[in-house]
């Protein structure tokens, strides 16, 4: 045994290998047609995963499809439960299951003194940023539990999002913490 011996060298190689996701992972990226979502989708694709993305932006989906033909996609508004249901039908068809859910859907929403924020903007923000996480989680969890690789959920959030949940009443922050 030693730092330069055979067993240690083999161990190091296996550690380095373990830093990559297993090849062939089935990955769903929400809001995956541009920005952080697209960067994550492309990275998994390069790592040998099978990647499906959904997004509300049709032209961004078309751009991603032309640039990375191997990635399949659905058009969906993540705040609408029926849309999310359709995404999972597409995921079953394209991937036949799921190992990884990247919950990236989110909008910045209105910011400012509370008396200047209109109700529609508030409700839209909560629907896209919070309800969507629930719509995806409840459908993804049964598939992730069946993953032979060990299912994985990763949510992304921005710093302003973090701040917004701090600003919001404690009950909302607790809800965000528990589901997002």
């Amino acid at each position: 045994m030693g730092f330069a011996g055979g067993p240690a060298r083999l161990l190091l190689v296996s550690i380095l290998d373990s830093l990559r996701p297993a090849r062939g992972l089935r990955v769903l990226v929400t809001a995956g047609a541009r920005g952080v979502g697209a960067a994550i989708a492309r990275a998994f694709h390069l790592a040998g995963s099978r990647v499906h993305v959904c997004d509300v932006d049709r032209s961004a989906l078309d751009r991603l499809r032309s640039e990375v033909p191997g990635i399949t996609h659905s058009m969906a508004d993540v705040s609408i439960s029926a849309d999310v249901g359709s995404v999972f039908e597409d995921v079953q068809g394209a991937l036949g299951g799921l190992d990884v859910l990247i919950g990236n859907g989110g909008i910045a929403g209105p910011t400012g003194p509370v008396e200047t924020i209109d109700g529609a903007g508030w409700e839209r923000t909560i629907a896209v940023n919070l309800h969507s996480q629930f719509h995806f989680a409840r459908r993804a969890v049964p598939l992730l539990k069946g993953s032979l690789e060990g299912g994985c959920m990763v949510m992304t959030a921005s710093s302003p999002g973090e701040t917004a949940t701090r600003f919001a009443p404690p009950r909302l922050r607790a809800l965000g913490r528990s589901s997002a």
Partner: protein
């Protein structure tokens, strides 16, 4: 996120969050940034790959900040 991590852990499902930077310049104005690099999209992509790799098999319920800020730390004036 933490309650899901707790609920799903026994089934081998891990749940984590990536807190990406946005509005970094505003935060920098407060003088609390510790890292001089601007965040890039691939920072989030690299962390996502790691979180879903076998090396992270015991990592769950974590919210990882990748915006260069030290959590809960204010630089004295």
């Amino acid at each position: 996120m933490r309650s899901l991590a707790h609920e799903l852990g026994p089934d081998g499902v891990r749940v984590n969050a990536i807190l990406v930077g946005a509005g970094r310049s505003r935060i920098q104005d407060k003088g609390s940034s510790a890292i001089p690099y601007d965040p890039e999209l691939d920072d989030a992509a690299a962390l996502a790959l790691f979180l879903c790799s076998p090396a992270a098999r015991n990592l769950t319920g974590q919210a990882v900040r990748i915006h260069g800020l030290v959590p809960s730390f204010s630089v004295p004036p």
